[in-house]
Symmetry: C2
DNA sequence: CCTTGAACCTCCAGTCGCTAGAGGGCCCAT
DNA sequence: ATGGGCCCTCTAGCGACTGGAGGTTCAAGG
């Protein structure tokens, strides 16, 4: 079974331009070509692209995805590393949730002080301009 | 009271390069200059930069921050808009938390299936390659 | 077989929110 | 006056794509 780039796109939800970009960056092996130069994808491509997309959606970092792809290529390797990567990812998500929760509390606190007067008395604006309560920045990437 | 860019940086936790970048992008008004061309910041700059930084840390989008800055410049305006922006931000954070929670559940489920065998039998790798359970992508920007 | 128009091709530029480096100039304490 | 730490501008780069221009190929209908 072979697929055009558009079919692959429909099957995976990844846009054609992005698929081409994945190829150019080495995430996806270069596809066969038709006589006229159109890309022809196999089921192997479909699986790999689905894998990449799914891992991205789950928030894995690119290095982790590369590691998982390497693992997937060695079916007799130990599963432990995959498990470790997944667990690390769960911990990462936990940390992110925690941080968002504290942001939410801070914001709700600020917004709760609003008494509906003019901006001059607005606690929201004031609170944002106050140097206090410095927060550490969110880690890059979602 | 005036500050050098380095002092402003120390006071706000924003790097000098980033401060210059904020100026070039119009987030911050251009600073006065010393005879030799060094930037000299006022307390007004300090307040505005703190505001921007704080709002960014709370995850406001750039358009929302611009709107808040516009509001801050009109002290007699109605506070309602600021309140609306803050509330929208709280809802946004809630949605993000919810999404992360479902990602976490999915991942934990996948990782929980790992029985420690070889990669060939690994549910983590398998699950990622499966087209099922498509998730919508995270909104851009943390 | 021919036409048509959707899908495909390559290449290049832009996005966002910064960050880093090169190559120099300024400021001030000793 | 000198040292070295701070500051200046300009340019390029990051990640992870996205969009457009300008041209070619494919497949279905007539």
């Amino acid at each position: 079974m072979t697929y055009s780039i558009g079919e692959l796109s429909r099957l995976t939800g990844v846009k054609p331009t992005t698929i081409r970009w994945y190829e150019s960056e080495g995430w996806l092996h270069a596809a066969e070509r038709s006589e006229g130069g159109h890309r022809l994808y196999s089921d192997a491509h479909l699986g790999r692209l689905t894998f990449i997309r799914h891992a991205r959606e789950l928030g894995f970092e690119s290095e982790a995805i590369r590691a998982l792809l390497r693992l997937a290529g060695r079916p007799d390797a130990d599963c432990g590393e995959a498990h470790a990567l997944a667990s690390a990812q769960v911990r990462e998500i936990d940390a992110r949730i925690e941080r968002l929760a504290s942001l939410r509390a801070e914001l709700a606190r600020i917004a709760g002080h609003c008494l509906g007067g003019t901006v001059g008395e607005c606690r929201i604006i004031e609170a944002l301009a106050e140097p206090a309560a410095r927060l550490t920045p969110m880690p890059r990437g979602a």
